[in-house]
Subunit: 152 residues, 2 copies
DNA sequence: CTTGAATGATTCGAGCTAGAACTATCACAG
DNA sequence: CTGTGATAGTTCTAGCTCGAATCATTCAAG
């Protein structure tokens, strides 16, 4: 049952490469976060907080569970980088807003993350190919027929 | 200094897609592991233990730190899936060997992981493109010019 | 209004992970 | 042999993550 060598090998190769490159990206974030005295998850959260959003939306942007966003936000709030405000239209939700310090932190994170990106060994055309291939996979992988619109 | 839109956006998109698809793969492993009563890391370790190797080599194959391999191996050993034997040629190292139960577990893991792979929405040609692009990135990312010379 | 399903946020438990510090061993040069 | 540096494995700490359970609120009927 084990031998359909070529297809399976290709599949495994790709999975392994995706995993390894994801870890390369992770290491990049980790290094940047370290330089700024942040934890990696905090850096990612700041990057995604380009505007006031709910904790739920942050979780979506970080592609993690909501409980996780709560965890990271707790620490960001302790450090005075974000504020949790009541949402104007939905009393269940909270609006996450960057403080002045948070804004500075975010600027630094965004700046350093885009510098020395691990993607520079591919030219724009290759990156676009990559984007479109991954786009198919991600769409399919989450293949939930998306019954939701992102009307915030 | 925030606006070099196109290049940066492409870069970010690709990073985000890689991250999301890596999590799709992770979820796949998680589901399979769950079905077999294993933790995700255990399933991955079993998958990589296609032959007796050292803990170090396992860490490389799992692309994680050595300390991590130790952690996973502790639990696999507790559950009687692997054995740590003294390495025949190097007394520092240990050889990780699957038990009979471990072999069965590995077979089940390998079998189920290859079934319903998240890559099926790409045909072989696209997968090869993906492999070659990621290959460049991974090689480059790990490609720290190693200040070591072969002492030949 | 009342009911019930869906949603936003949180808490908690179990497990994963990197990185640093440490021990033992090896490889090599003197 | 002795010392030096590299390597294999382990331990420990701090932090990350999922998934399940919980609570309040919202929304859609009736």
């Amino acid at each position: 049952m084990a031998d359909r060598p070529v297809e399976i090998q290709l599949d495994r190769d790709v999975c392994k490469l995706v995993h390894r490159f994801a870890r390369t990206l992770d290491t990049h974030v980790r290094r940047v976060a370290d330089e700024l005295g942040l934890t990696p998850a905090q850096a990612v959260a700041l990057r995604e907080l380009s505007e006031p959003i709910t904790a739920r939306e942050l979780a979506v942007r970080m592609s993690c569970e909501a409980s996780n966003a709560t965890f990271v936000l707790d620490r960001l709030e302790e450090q005075g980088l974000v504020e949790r405000r009541p949402h104007p239209r939905d009393r269940r939700a909270k609006q996450i807003v960057l403080t002045a310090t948070g804004e500075r932190g975010r600027a630094a994170v965004v700046d350093r993350l885009s510098a020395r990106s691990p993607l520079t060994s591919l030219d724009a055309r290759q990156q676009e190919t990559l984007r479109s291939l991954l786009g198919v996979l991600v769409e399919d992988g989450n293949g939930q027929p998306d019954a939701r619109k992102t009307s915030s």
